[in-house]
Symmetry: D4
Amino acid sequence: MTDNFEDLGFAKLDMSRRERTGVPETIYCAGKTKEQLVEIFKAFKSKNSPVLGTRCSAEQADFVRAAGLNVKYDAMSRTIVLQAGHLPRLNGRIAVCTGGTADLPVAGEAAAVAEFFGAEVDRHFDVGVAGIHRLFARLEEIRRADVVIAVAGMEGALAGVVAGLVEAPVIAVPTSVGYGASFGGLAALLTMLNSCAEGVSVVNIDNGFGAAALACRILRRTQKHD
Amino acid sequence: MTDNFEDLGFAKLDMSRRERTGVPETIYCAGKTKEQLVEIFKAFKSKNSPVLGTRCSAEQADFVRAAGLNVKYDAMSRTIVLQAGHLPRLNGRIAVCTGGTADLPVAGEAAAVAEFFGAEVDRHFDVGVAGIHRLFARLEEIRRADVVIAVAGMEGALAGVVAGLVEAPVIAVPTSVGYGASFGGLAALLTMLNSCAEGVSVVNIDNGFGAAALACRILRRTQKHD
Amino acid sequence: MTDNFEDLGFAKLDMSRRERTGVPETIYCAGKTKEQLVEIFKAFKSKNSPVLGTRCSAEQADFVRAAGLNVKYDAMSRTIVLQAGHLPRLNGRIAVCTGGTADLPVAGEAAAVAEFFGAEVDRHFDVGVAGIHRLFARLEEIRRADVVIAVAGMEGALAGVVAGLVEAPVIAVPTSVGYGASFGGLAALLTMLNSCAEGVSVVNIDNGFGAAALACRILRRTQKHD
Amino acid sequence: MTDNFEDLGFAKLDMSRRERTGVPETIYCAGKTKEQLVEIFKAFKSKNSPVLGTRCSAEQADFVRAAGLNVKYDAMSRTIVLQAGHLPRLNGRIAVCTGGTADLPVAGEAAAVAEFFGAEVDRHFDVGVAGIHRLFARLEEIRRADVVIAVAGMEGALAGVVAGLVEAPVIAVPTSVGYGASFGGLAALLTMLNSCAEGVSVVNIDNGFGAAALACRILRRTQKHD
Amino acid sequence: MTDNFEDLGFAKLDMSRRERTGVPETIYCAGKTKEQLVEIFKAFKSKNSPVLGTRCSAEQADFVRAAGLNVKYDAMSRTIVLQAGHLPRLNGRIAVCTGGTADLPVAGEAAAVAEFFGAEVDRHFDVGVAGIHRLFARLEEIRRADVVIAVAGMEGALAGVVAGLVEAPVIAVPTSVGYGASFGGLAALLTMLNSCAEGVSVVNIDNGFGAAALACRILRRTQKHD
Amino acid sequence: MTDNFEDLGFAKLDMSRRERTGVPETIYCAGKTKEQLVEIFKAFKSKNSPVLGTRCSAEQADFVRAAGLNVKYDAMSRTIVLQAGHLPRLNGRIAVCTGGTADLPVAGEAAAVAEFFGAEVDRHFDVGVAGIHRLFARLEEIRRADVVIAVAGMEGALAGVVAGLVEAPVIAVPTSVGYGASFGGLAALLTMLNSCAEGVSVVNIDNGFGAAALACRILRRTQKHD
Amino acid sequence: MTDNFEDLGFAKLDMSRRERTGVPETIYCAGKTKEQLVEIFKAFKSKNSPVLGTRCSAEQADFVRAAGLNVKYDAMSRTIVLQAGHLPRLNGRIAVCTGGTADLPVAGEAAAVAEFFGAEVDRHFDVGVAGIHRLFARLEEIRRADVVIAVAGMEGALAGVVAGLVEAPVIAVPTSVGYGASFGGLAALLTMLNSCAEGVSVVNIDNGFGAAALACRILRRTQKHD
Amino acid sequence: MTDNFEDLGFAKLDMSRRERTGVPETIYCAGKTKEQLVEIFKAFKSKNSPVLGTRCSAEQADFVRAAGLNVKYDAMSRTIVLQAGHLPRLNGRIAVCTGGTADLPVAGEAAAVAEFFGAEVDRHFDVGVAGIHRLFARLEEIRRADVVIAVAGMEGALAGVVAGLVEAPVIAVPTSVGYGASFGGLAALLTMLNSCAEGVSVVNIDNGFGAAALACRILRRTQKHD
């Protein structure tokens, strides 16, 4: 086990991850100072390595840009991307579905990360089970996906219903959307863990990144067998 | 407020409830001794008053029968009924739906209580959202009901999906069916409280009785306006 | 199932709901941008459809009004209403009761929504069980209601006491009013779910809207039988 | 601080507590072996000291009696008493109220302990708030008490309602009676802690002993001032 | 039961409480607008009735004073008092003890309320069990009290230790002081409910008011027997 | 959507699932009566359809066998299998790893279900992180798998460590193994949901079946692309 | 990292641990079959290696003895020991203190394990803080210990009070002793985690073994420096 | 027990602690006013006693410095130190390890406190188990420590893995780093309490101070035996 990490003191960066594994590096921006982010992005740029940051605030993004780094920031999904070198392409499609409008930031993070990792992503937003015809209207399209990411807050029933309707693996992402007895996403999390339909597994509340990373691991497996 | 209760020492019985309100009396059997139950049923019989007991064990029922009381016991729903005098009839239908087979005892309690209170009940069992076509196969029938009681454990998503498909009020009953992160029905309870569809309210976990009692209050309201 | 939703990208609006079901549309404003709200209200206005928004901040309301939309905003209940066309009228009365002064925003939301849906509403505020004579002073009036909505935080005992005193269905709304071991409304929620009186069901913490929507479903049922 | 404890190895007994403080000793029987209980009761008998045991099973009581000890056992309250010497008398009355029949074991423990400590006890059982006229029928009597112990499970609303109706201090005892979302008495505990009425404090779930011990401390204070 | 409440619309004030019961009225200021507070204090002043407000912010207090009301505000305990007429005096002493410095606001509230209700109060601050000699240094004084109020956050062990050392009733007030696994006072609350020493009961987290109100009920009982 | 379910009253069986989807049917035996199980297995036998039952007690299995059904029962994994017709074969390998010996029943269920669904399974038991060299000794083998199922109770750290060492998707199964603050598997569940390594998702506590079903969905996806 | 484990299939045994590290091996018996235990003990005997089993039931112990193994079983602490070869001796003393009699099984496990690991152990049982003079009576002796293990259920205040009185490190063991709001030891666990005194750390509920193992690690460190 | 505390009214300071016990005093700054901090630091300065403050905000530190006190403030660990007199030196090394960058403030507090108490500290930051080779790269160094402090948020698996790899006692510090189902550090806390490796104990969430204080107690024990 050789250590490929560059040690900035406050963080150890895996500069050769893409070369080694085909998977580019990602950074969790929340809790990092603006100065630390600049240093990190500069380190990747100097190696001509692409990098994506999640949970990046508009203020952080502005600071990074002001430092002369040519990054792309998406406010809705709070992702920041430094394009560099050549990104891998993955075969297969990921469908990202959401229960409601308020789940968009989490779904957006999932979609942005999956695309950064090389996957093709179909977005099916606002197809929650309270008006189930909206889901059926999209079903044929969703069934074409190799992996489905189901993002939902409040009652979180979307994942189980979808898993009963498709054959692909379903990754459920509970969101903290809701109030009162949603307890910050706990209700949706429990719903998803207790799904009666087979074929569902769950990541942490609001963890769009984790869902996308797992979905891409699945697609890479698919590839391996081609 | 005149007190119509007969005081047996261990319990105060409302002997004239049916005369006064049109609603016959019910008894929660769990936690009562066999001897206490016999005494209670005899008191009602002596007044020619009907009474229904919930959460009645087979052993309790045998003991009551052995004491010469002509009761009807249903093992699945754990209800015991002493027919006496004349029961009220309610206009309107109640649909009792369940997510899975294991929810039957709770659903059975709801149905038995509603029928004892005079309602007509349609049973739609095993129509959970994991195989949603089972629900759609019954939808037209469910839409005919004046009140829907949706009984479900595990993820508990049935109530919200049904509420999005019918116009009647939906009473959700979470059940303790499940394991692990169902936490004894807590997961289903939270799902139902966070339902995105309007028109749903929730009773305690496994409380089939409470759902039926509320459903019949609604039907009585309907009647009043006829 | 024909889809009557107008897709604004960030939301799918049910423009023909009132024509189809007699129930006008409502919008949950929290988490939507000011610009999105304007777009939504304009879409309804263009179809001459009424719409009510809940959880609307004063700032959101000001922005909508500044965009030239003739809406009515009520700061206490945080509701915003666009009157348009003809609203349905419902027979029957809803009594909205609160335990204390601090429950007013939730009770106000329930009352505003019920009135928007066409119901007649009686308000009985500050009748909590700590000074139970205040409740008895209003009891005769409350007994005239077809549905009672009982709104209470802290100990949340109001719903159970009321349900023991009236014959109408009681919809309990726990509120997040309180501190310490109220745990953001959890204490009141549990109290209400464990109500010893029959005839009570519960909606989410602070969900005045849900209580009103359910109450109106009940009134509509009543109507159907007239 | 002189140590008055007799050390049996498995327990240290305060043999001179009554002489020193006027308060006879009590023993928590649950979790002790039958043999240990016999040894404990013999030790007290040898000093002609009275002692009361709580949470005593019928089997434990039988064993103690079979060992030749002249004890009085009450199955309902699970208390066992060795009368010996002279018990103190306390001025003042304690009212023990319960919400329902199933709360009797806890209420019985409170009453037995209070009487053992020398207090006069009035029992008001089955006066829960779901049928509040039952409480009002007893109110004048309850108001005569110097301390009220309010024992209730499920929703646990009794304590707060009583505290709003009397001037005496109210000690609330939540019980584990209930099912589902009562979570073993947690719901009643939270209700009582959040009581809107002033003058209420709470002991542990099912802790009839603790309520009685505190009530008698209060009565002793009263005495001191006579 | 005659209603002595003055209805301000947003609140019902018990103007004759002091005359009727000897106990002056108190107001919970949190969640009330500044304008409402002024109206309330003016109503009491017009009847020459004293009133104490708890959880009063400095901003609220300034506004009330600016409205020409002659109130006394204490920033540490967040209490505001309108002196008027004649306050009752209670025999007996209350000892208010705290575990640490950070518990002072809650302890201060308890002390201020008890004094407003006419009790004599001894303050024993910063006597927590981590340095138990601090408690022993004050013990003789604490033993003179008729009621002990033990205020503590974090581990909350003070109440149980004190109850084992005094003969007076002990009212435990958990505080939200702490971090991490104190879970906003839950740890201290559970500690106190599980106290091994007899003679302890518990009020809500941070509820200094409730502890004082109960302590004064106990003192009044004492008086009654004089 | 044609309904292929055979309705036994107490259960609706999907008799043609294997023909339709290539996935044979499975039955959750817990909560079903022995007689119901016999009826279910006979129905499948009559159609020459294979079926696997999970959570099957030894008593249930004996009864089914006594009814003349030729089933294979495995006590450790509590699975019961009726071989019939032709089972599908899936390309790709699943590695099932466990933290400790006590996790074997859950891991066994996962392995049995995966094999029933046609997958090749490698078992790596007792490779928990407390003695991490045990995991490293197996690492090369585990890296050959297309999907890793990581089963662990108590601290549940296995899944995250494995995910950092392999490139395949990792399905984490928390188990209820442990005591005290493991809270029935909650600790392991939370650990797994908060995994710092990417590529992990989680199923319900003790849900070996769900992990296997999901793993096979992933393998089927792989196949599709071949 | 050479693997010294003997693989029995169901368990991997570290046969050379004592030789390698000076620490003899221990076995967690709960959840293992009687046959597995016999096999494990035989394996150790064949290598002349000592081994201690924790959480061993009387039935398990009888079976092991019946298999001809010369083990010593202690019913109170549920430990079973196979003496073999030469055990290490550790310098330094460990004081094991308990709050009450019911904590003895956990304290006994701690003491037995520490003695098996070679430490000298002083037992100070039933010195809980409700009668704090019992603790002071033992204080000088406790202060002589190099490590203090404080075992307590219910309120769990012992650890914090002791840590304020001694200079040695204190290892707190919450026990599941208690009822109601002790929530299976959660209350004691939280108390100990929130200890105001410095020098305390906490192991899992009822984990006497873990406390002893840690205490002996500390003593071994001491030795190293001699 | 002589009282060595200087009573400032709002706090009792142990001015002679260093002289008496060799351990200098520490202050918890959070929740204290700036003026109180100045008074406290002045009191220590006047006695030429060193003191360290934890949880000190930059604003508090500025104010103390502006008051002419020569203190050293470290923003990352939020510690403030007044050097005075002669600090003790401890033999032995403490290794402070963290899972990730975001755990630095807590780890920094632990390191600063340990150094203030006289220990030598090695820092091993960002060695979390998701990339376990980072830990192995540091293992030999970590093994040299006499006590290991393992600081980790999110899944919190670091402590258990380290304890399986070293022989020194391991003190685990869960941090509140994370989101969603980390529930403010609860997930990491539970992971650590359930550690399968022996030799681990746990302090409160984010309690770097407590871990250091305990580690130094252990080192002092070591010394005593030299």
